[in-house]
């Protein structure tokens, strides 16, 4: 880690982590709903929850990819103060 510059800026990392934590929370609730429906012998609802959970997974991956792509854009060098 010594001398290594993080590729993602702090602000990007902040919203990325918060977003992923929120998505994880949603997925946890979906998992619990799926378990509840299955134990109640309701076999149609779980597939809806699986679909929504998959969308959350895609969004998570998309957010990570987006953040890294954004950080790869060349930035303008700081102008020396006169």
């Amino acid at each position: 880690m010594l001398g290594r510059v993080p590729r993602l800026p702090h602000s990007t990392m902040r919203w990325l982590i918060i977003s992923l934590m929120l998505l994880n929370g949603i997925q946890l609730v979906l998992l619990q709903l799926t378990i509840n429906s299955t134990l109640s012998l309701d076999f149609t609802q779980p597939w809806l929850y699986v679909g929504v959970s998959f969308i959350c997974l895609l969004i998570s991956g998309g957010l990570i990819a987006f953040a890294f792509l954004q950080s790869r854009k060349p930035t303008t060098p700081n102008k020396p103060k006169s």
Binding site: P6, I17, L31, T34, S40, L41, F43, P46, S53, C56
Partner: protein, 189 residues
Amino acid sequence: MTQHDSTSVENSTLKVGKGGALGVPPKDGDPLWQQDFPINRAEEMDNSRRQFLKFLGLTSLAFFTGTLGVALKGLFEQQRTSTLPEMRIASVNDVAEGQSLNFQYPADDYPAILIHLPGGNFVAYEQRCTHLLCPVLYQGDKGRIYCPCHDGVFQPATGERLAGPPPRPLNKIKIEVRGTDIFAVGRSS
């Protein structure tokens, strides 16, 4: 481990704590295990944001996999439930009004309860509380199905939860009265 060894470990822990082991090679006085496995404790304790990001991504994948697994298990259960055999439970005269009868359906390890409600109707439920699977009891004098483990209470006519920690109603067993016999023909939510 001898008394001497534990003392050595404590001393070394104090020595390497708080980032003290960063790049410090093991010395002759260090215990043998630390010379063989020079763990950099400060680095081990450091959880970078990048690692946390990886953890969140993998957690998302794990939650999806879990949800999919539970849904697939439900699909398997659905196929099994749709092909349950019919089984004669008892005769109508075997269960007096306000009384119940325990039976097993669809297999021996699936306890169930048949209830003769006041008014003449019959209902049957899985005899497992939806909280922690304790066997539930029908209390005709109090007009309730009761779970003695954690005071869960269910409505006898519908199986709905009335009180206590159970999160769901009792699972029903479909029954049919044919002449004087009562048959179990399937399960439903």
